[in-house]
C-alpha cells in the first residue's frame, strides 16, 4: 500500500475544504439551523409528538442525514471531477497509486468532511431542541457508513459527469427528493397504506430510519434491515467503482 499517496490525496482534499470553509461547512450548518428554527421551534411547537418524540427532536436525525447525503455526494463528486476538469488528474493516474488508494484518499476525505458537518449540525441542534441519543455507538456507525457509502456514490458521479451541471444533477434531482420523501420530516406510518408501501422502495428511508432509531429507539423499519440496506448499497457502489477502474471508463482511454 502507498500510504503516503493516500495521505497526500486525503490532506489535499481536507485542505481544500479548510480553504473554502464558508462553502464547505458554514453554509450547510446555516441552512440546517434554519430548518430547526422554522420546523423545530416555530411550527414544531404546534405539532403533536411522533412515536413519543417531540417534533423538533424527531426531525434532528433526518436533517443530519439530509446534509450528510448531499454533502457526501457533492464533496466526493467535486473532489474527483475538478482534477478531471482542470487536467491535474494526470498526476494521480501516472503515480504508483492503486484504485483502492485513490478511492481511500478522495472518498475518505469526502466522508470525513460530511461526517464533520453532520457532527457540527448535531451540536448545533442542541441549541434549538432538547434530545438525547439512546445508542451513540450505533449513531456514529450509521453516520460513518452512510457518509462513506454516499461519498462512494459521489465519486462515481464525479467520474461520470461531463460538466458542472451534471455534477449537481443527482444531488438536486434524486437525493434531495428521496431524502424529503424518506421520512426526514415524518414517520411513514402517518402516510396512507399505498404511499407507505411506495416509501419502502426509497433506499434513503432505511438510512433515516436506522439513524433515528439510534437516537430514539423509534424507527419505520428494523435496525438490522436498515444496516443491511446500507451495507448492500455500499457493496453496489464499490462494485461500480471496481468496474470503472477495471475498464478505465471515463478516466483511461
Amino acid at each position: 500500500m502507498n500510504w503516503h499517496a493516500v495521505k497526500a490525496i486525503y490532506m489535499f482534499e481536507i485542505n481544500r475544504a479548510i480553504r473554502t470553509i464558508g462553502q464547505s461547512i458554514v453554509s450547510p450548518v446555516l441552512s440546517t439551523s434554519l430548518y430547526f428554527i422554522v420546523f423545530g421551534a416555530a411550527i414544531g411547537s404546534r405539532i403533536n409528538q411522533i412515536d413519543g418524540v417531540d417534533y423538533g427532536a424527531f426531525i434532528v436525525p433526518g436533517l443530519i442525514m439530509l446534509q450528510l447525503l448531499t454533502q457526501s455526494i457533492s464533496n466526493a463528486a467535486f473532489g474527483i471531477y475538478f482534477p478531471r476538469f482542470a487536467g491535474t488528474i494526470y498526476e494521480v493516474l501516472s503515480a504508483p497509486v492503486s484504485a483502492v488508494e485513490i478511492v481511500l484518499g478522495f472518498v475518505g476525505a469526502a466522508a470525513t468532511k460530511s461526517i464533520m458537518i453532520g457532527l457540527i449540525i448535531l451540536a448545533t441542534a442542541t441549541l434549538f431542541v432538547d434530545f438525547e441519543i439512546a445508542h451513540p455507538i450505533w449513531m456514529l456507525l450509521f453516520l460513518v457508513l452512510t457518509g462513506f457509502t454516499f461519498s462512494l456514490l459521489g465519486f462515481i458521479i464525479g467520474i461520470w459527469a461531463d460538466g458542472f451541471e451534471q455534477l449537481q444533477l443527482v444531488p438536486l434531482l434524486v437525493v434531495t427528493p428521496l431524502t424529503f420523501l424518506g421520512g426526514t420530516f415524518y414517520s411513514i406510518d402517518m402516510l396512507p397504506d399505498f404511499w407507505r408501501d411506495v416509501s419502502l422502495l426509497n433506499p434513503v428511508l432505511y438510512l433515516v430510519s436506522g439513524f433515528r432509531w439510534a437516537f430514539y429507539e423509534a424507527s419505520d423499519v428494523s435496525i438490522f434491515v436498515s444496516l443491511s440496506m446500507t451495507l448492500a448499497f455500499m457493496a453496489i457502489a464499490m462494485t461500480a467503482i471496481w468496474w470503472i477502474f477495471k475498464t478505465g471508463w471515463r478516466i483511461k482511454p
Binding site: 497526500a8 490525496i9 489535499f12 504508483p96
Partner: protein
C-alpha cells in the same frame, strides 16, 4: 559495463494501441532507452507521441505489447515502474489555489515518498522557484508554471523524466530557458525523454532521435549519425559574371542556376564515395566560368525530418 550490455532504463516491445472506435494510434513500436540518455521523439501532431508516453506512464491502457521501466513491467509491477518516472504534461495543468511548496510536496507524497523538505528545497532552488515557494500558482507566469510542473515531476527523484512538448506554445526566451533546464538535468544523470515537433529543440538537446509518423516509429538514430547519414549538402558557387545556361558537359551534375544567373547550386550526398566537387570545379574552370565565392550548407534536421515523414506517407 558497455552500453550494449547495460540494462535499459526503458524498454518498449511490440507496443500497439487501438482506441475505442478502432483508431490505431501506435503500430508495433519497439524502442530501448539507456540510462542517462536524452532522447527526442519527433513527429507531427497526431503521430502518436503523447499516446506512447501515456502508455508508459499509465495514463492510457496498454493492451498490446510490453513496456518495462528499469526492468519493471508497467502493468504487473506498476508501483515500482511508475515510481521511477516523472511526467511533465503538455498542458499547463496546475492547482491554481495551491502554493508552489504545497503542490510540489503533494507530488512527492503521491509518488510514495515521505516528506522531505530538503529535497523539495533543492528541487525548487535548481529551478529558480525557491523564492516563489509561498506564491499561489495562479499568480505565476506561464514560464514559472512550466517550471513548477517540472519541479512536481522531480519531487520524488525519478530516474526517467518525460517532457511532453515542453516548449509548445511558449516564446523563444522561455524555450531557451527550458533547454537550459534540460541541460542541467543531464548533469544529474536523469534520463530525459522529450517529445517535440520543434526540430531545433531535438537538435539542441538530444543524444538520440526517434521519428514517429502515423503511429509507426520509422527511425531511431544517434543525432549526429542521423545528420551525417541523411544530411545533404549544398555547394553554392557565386559567379563573377552572369551565366546564360549550364554548360553541356556539366549536365549530368545536379546543378541549379539561380534566377539572376549569378550563382550555381550543386546538391550532393555527404556520405557518397565521391562528392564530385573536385571534377566540377575543374570542368567549370575549363569552360571559363569564373567564380568569386563558394558557400556550403548542411541540411538541417528539420529538412531531414520533413523528408522522412513525407517518405513515410
Amino acid at each position: 559495463m558497455s552500453e550494449t550490455t547495460q540494462k535499459p532504463i526503458l524498454s518498449i516491445e511490440n507496443v500497439s494501441k487501438t482506441y475505442e472506435g478502432g483508431y490505431k494510434a501506435l503500430k508495433n513500436v519497439d524502442l530501448t532507452i539507456q540510462k542517462g540518455e536524452i532522447f527526442a521523439l519527433l513527429g507531427p501532431n497526431g503521430a502518436g507521441k503523447t499516446t506512447l508516453i501515456s502508455l508508459i506512464c499509465g495514463l492510457a491502457r496498454l493492451n498490446e505489447g510490453r513496456i518495462t521501466v528499469d526492468g519493471h513491467d508497467v502493468k504487473s509491477e506498476f508501483y515500482k515502474a511508475r515510481g521511477k518516472i516523472g511526467l511533465v504534461p503538455q498542458e499547463l495543468t496546475t492547482d491554481a489555489f495551491e502554493s508552489v511548496w504545497n503542490t510540489v510536496s503533494f507530488s512527492r507524497g503521491l509518488f510514495g515518498k515521505p516528506k522531505d523538505p530538503t529535497v523539495i528545497e533543492r528541487v525548487l532552488k535548481s529551478l529558480a522557484l525557491y523564492e516563489k515557494r509561498d506564491n499561489k500558482l495562479r499568480t505565476l507566469s506561464g514560464g514559472m508554471k512550466r517550471r513548477v510542473l517540472i519541479a512536481k515531476a522531480l519531487a520524488h527523484e525519478p530516474e526517467v523524466l518525460f517532457l511532453d512538448e515542453p516548449t509548445a506554445g511558449v516564446d523563444v526566451a522561455l524555450r531557451r530557458e527550458m533547454w537550459n533546464v534540460v541541460a542541467d538535468l543531464r548533469q544529474t544523470g536523469v534520463t530525459v525523454i522529450l517529445t517535440t515537433h520543434y526540430i531545433e529543440e531535438a537538435e539542441m538537446m538530444a543524444d538520440r532521435i526517434g521519428v514517429i509518423s502515423k503511429g509507426e516509429l520509422i527511425l531511431v538514430e544517434d543525432k549526429n549519425e542521423l545528420m551525417r547519414k541523411l544530411g545533404h549538402k549544398e555547394l553554392t558557387i557565386v559567379l563573377q559574371e552572369p551565366l546564360q545556361a549550364i554548360p553541356d558537359n556539366l549536365s549530368h551534375y545536379d546543378l541549379q542556376l539561380a534566377e539572376d544567373r549569378m550563382s550555381l547550386t550543386y546538391s550532393y550526398d555527404t556520405h557518397a564515395e565521391r562528392t564530385g566537387i573536385a571534377t566540377l570545379m575543374r570542368l567549370l574552370a575549363e569552360d571559363g566560368v569564373r567564380f568569386r565565392d563558394i558557400v556550403t550548407k548542411q541540411s538541417s534536421l528539420e529538412e531531414i525530418f520533413v523528408g522522412l515523414v513525407e517518405d513515410g506517407q
